[in-house]
Structures are given as C-alpha cells and as structure tokens.
C-alpha cells in the first residue's frame, strides 16, 4: 500500500509536487494521470526514495522511503520514464543481474525469468543483446525487470508505450492478474482509454496538486463528461 501525505517537492524554487495527498490500496489498480509537467514522474521518484520531499511524507507498506529507501525498494518494482538498458547484455542477463541485486537465489531466478519470458513473449529475444532492441522490446525488458522479484508494490510510468497490440493485451491481462493477487499497482498513463479500462481508482494531478480522485465513473460524473478523456480535460483545465 502506498500513502502520500501532503507531499511537496520543488526544483529551483518551482514546485513540482505541491501538497499531494493520496493513497493507493493493495489489490487495486490506481491511475495517476495529469498533463505533462504535472508532477507524476516526480511523485513516482519520491515513492522510490530517489527524491526526498521538502515536506510531507510517503509510506510504502508503512515504510518511509526518506528514512529507509532500501527497505522501500525491496517492496517496489518500478518502471519509470527511462527505459535504459545495457546494450552489450542479453535480455536474460539483464533479468539475472537485477534479480541478483534484489537478493534472489539462482534457482528462484531461473524459474522467475522463465515465467517472465513467457508472460511478455520474450523467448525469442531472451539471448539477444539489447543493442538494437525496438522500443517495444525495450519496454518489455523494463517491465520484466521491474517485476523480477514479484514485488508487492508496482509503479508503472506509461507501461504501454511502444508495445504492439498483442503485448498491450498481455500487459493488461498481467495487471489484472497482479491486482487479483493483491498487489498495489500505481499506473501513470496518458492513454485515457487504458486508464478507464484498467484502473479502479484514478488520481488526477495538475501543477503538482491533486485536483480530483475517484473511480473513472465518479470522475466522469463529477465533471459531467461522457468519457474519462473529457473528464480529464475538464478537471485539468
């Protein structure tokens, strides 16, 4: 479970996150949506402890990342906007590297890697070096890496970017399965149809502040809109 309480973060005096309060429960897919520069990525970085808030706090399973970033990172798998990988390592080597850094044993890793390669249909690229991977292949690798140790909390920043139709469907099915398994999923996306289809709760942010929170239906009702996209435009105007 992720709870943010009155979070503040500024860069060079300009507030990026300005008093954000929300919670993302276990067994729920929570959408974090907002226009470009609204503070979504900063919020995700505050949750992982890579950034420290100037005021307020985040709790991940009751652990404060500002005080115990290592403890929080053990309980989080995150896909942020950078899909960086190592061009000279294969996809399998990437998964093994990050799995080991997350304290997994070789036996555990072998079965988990096999499962993830299955899930993301990556067997064909498993032993290919990452150099020359397409955007979709890089995204699949980053997703699999984020989920390597089956963490209880998963943060995903634009996870469908660059994926083909089949992969988007596989990702959707995976997220639904993770929700059923009781994981806390925080999803940031610009694709409103995706958010409406997947998310049980949506947090709308603009200029670093939360402007609305509720289910997609509640947000549509609140803004008198026929679609989440319309509601989003109305709420963030």
């Amino acid at each position: 479970m992720i709870q943010a309480d009155n979070l503040h973060k500024s860069f060079a005096g300009r507030p990026a996150v300005d008093g954000l309060t929300f919670s993302a429960a276990d067994g729920v897919i929570t959408g974090l949506i907002g226009p470009n520069g609204s503070g979504k990525t900063t919020t995700l970085r505050l949750i992982t402890g890579l950034l420290r808030p100037h005021a307020g706090q985040v709790l991940v399973d009751r652990i404060n990342p500002a005080l115990d970033p290592i403890g929080v990172r053990r309980r989080i798998g995150a896909l942020t906007d950078g899909l960086g990988n190592y061009p000279r390592l294969t996809a399998r080597e990437h998964l093994r590297y990050f799995g080991k850094l997350r304290g997994m044993s070789t036996v555990e890793l072998d079965s988990r890697i096999h499962l993830l390669l299955d899930l993301f249909d990556m067997h064909q690229i498993a032993d290919r070096r990452a150099q020359g991977f397409s955007q979709g292949e890089r995204m699949k690798l980053a997703l699999a890496t984020a989920m390597i140790n089956d963490p209880p909390n998963i943060l995903l920043d634009e996870p469908a970017n660059g994926l083909d139709v089949a992969s988007v469907r596989a990702l959707r099915a995976l997220l639904e399965r993770l929700r059923a398994a009781g994981k806390c999923l925080l999803l940031s996306s610009h694709v409103m149809a995706e958010v409406a289809l997947l998310c049980d709760a949506v947090i709308v942010v603009a200029r670093g502040k939360m402007v609305a929170q509720g289910s997609p239906e509640e947000l549509m009702r609140l803004s008198n809109a026929r679609s989440l996209e319309e509601a989003f435009m109305e709420l963030t105007a």
Partner: protein
C-alpha cells in the same frame, strides 16, 4: 543481501567491459605503443627514461573507457535510475564499479610490462636494465591502479554523457603524462617527502629502476599508502555524489 551487491555489480561490469571490443582495442594501443617506442629508440641513452611515463599513463588509459561507460554511459543510457531503484546502497554500486575499473587498469599495466619485457629481450636494452627490474616496476606502479580507477571514476561521476566524460578525462590524462615527462626533464632527488607526492613519487622510483637502482622499501610503501588513501577518498566521494539528487537527475 546488499553486502554482496558490489560483487554482483563488479562481475556485471567486467563482463560488459570485456564485450566492448572497440574500447579494449583503443586502451591496448597505449600498452604496446610506449614499450615499442622505447625499443625503437634503444640506441638513445635516454630510451629507458620513457618507460616510467608510459607505465603511469597506462594505468589511467586502462581505466578511462570503462570508468566513462559505467558512470557517464550509465546516465546517458538512462540505466542509472533503474539501477538506483534496487535495494542497494550507492556505496556498493560504486565499489563494484571501481573494482571492475581496477581490473581493467591492472590488465593494462600488466600488458604494458609484458610488452616491455619482450622489448628488453629483443634489444640490447636488457644490458642497461635487468628484466627483473620490471617486477619492481610492477610493485611501484601497482598502487596507481586503484588510484587511477578511483580518480577516473570520480571524474566521470560529474559527466552526464560519455562525450562530456571524455573531455574531462582528456584533461585528467594530462596529470600522469605531464608528471611523467616533466619529472624526467627536471629530476628531483628521490627522498621520503618526494615519494609521498602522488605520481611524482612513483615516477622517481620508476626512473631509479631504469638506472638499475632499487628504491628504499619504506618509500615504496609510503608512496603506495598515499595513493591508496586518495583512491579510497575518491571512491567515497563518488558514492556520496551518487546519493545526491542533483547528480543523479541533474
């Protein structure tokens, strides 16, 4: 778990670095170029005086490419953030990377000495310097390996891209080169206080070895200890920097 993270990072960086054939080739040029030049100039009475500078330079050039790749390259590829999101202390990451850089720098030094050994056997230079002096040279230059690795690592921590890293390293490269060359032109007498000056101490000892003089063991230990302390300080500095938001996202 995190107590072994440095080992995981070290193994990954070594494997990754060994696959970077272009960088390996460019770094190896310095390993044979220096001793080869000494061999070509064997008729000159000062031919062996070139060796100290090249031995010092090779520890830095062996470290340069990999240091740039594991720090500035990591940032440019966008892989630094996913790496830092693992439950690993920045100090462990830096330690693993530093050890990998040390491994490449050490290989570079050993390769240079092996080429120098070949040159000694193939030319009459072995009459002027016994090949066993190369073992003493290894002992004198060895502490420069962690120093060069730490120095290059720290320099590259400031760089956002390998291109930027290369420009910093180009300037940093002048330090061992100029120390090696200037100390040969303006020789200062080797004594304890000179042995304690990083690079200059090593240069004077290496220079003494080319003349068949064995440096005092205490000076050897002193010069090694000084650069080792500086190496540890550089690694600690890089770890500190990597824990800062400005450095990671700046």
């Amino acid at each position: 778990m995190s107590s072994h993270a440095w080992d995981i990072v070290f193994r990954k960086e070594v494997r990754d670095g060994l696959r970077d054939h272009r960088s390996l080739f460019s770094a190896s040029i310095f390993c044979w170029l220096g001793p080869l030049l000494v061999g070509i100039l064997w008729r000159q009475p000062t031919a062996l005086a070139l060796l100290p500078a090249f031995l010092m330079i090779t520890t830095f050039t062996g470290a340069m490419n990999i240091a740039n790749d594991v720090m500035a390259g990591e940032r440019e590829r966008g892989s630094l953030e996913p790496l830092l999101m693992n439950p690993v202390f920045p100090a462990d990451l830096v330690l693993g990377k530093w050890l990998a850089i040390c491994a490449f720098s050490l290989c570079s030094l050993v390769l240079t000495l092996l080429v120098a050994l070949t040159v000694l056997y193939l030319t009459p230079l072995s009459a002027r310097m016994h090949p066993s002096a190369l073992l003493w040279m290894l002992a004198a230059t060895l502490p420069l390996v962690p120093f060069a690795a730490g120095f290059d690592l720290l320099v590259c921590t400031f760089a956002r891209t390998p291109k930027e890293g290369n420009s910093y390293l180009g300037v940093a490269f002048l330090v061992p080169m100029l120390t090696g060359m200037l100390a040969e032109f303006f020789p200062v007498r080797l004594r304890a206080v000179i042995a304690a000056v990083p690079l200059l101490g090593q240069q004077r000892m290496l220079s003494a070895l080319t003349r068949g003089e064995i440096p005092h063991l205490a000076w050897l230990a002193l010069s090694g200890a000084v650069v080792l302390v500086l190496a540890i300080a550089a690694v600690a500095g890089a770890a500190r920097l990597l824990a800062q938001e400005k450095v990671v996202f700046g």
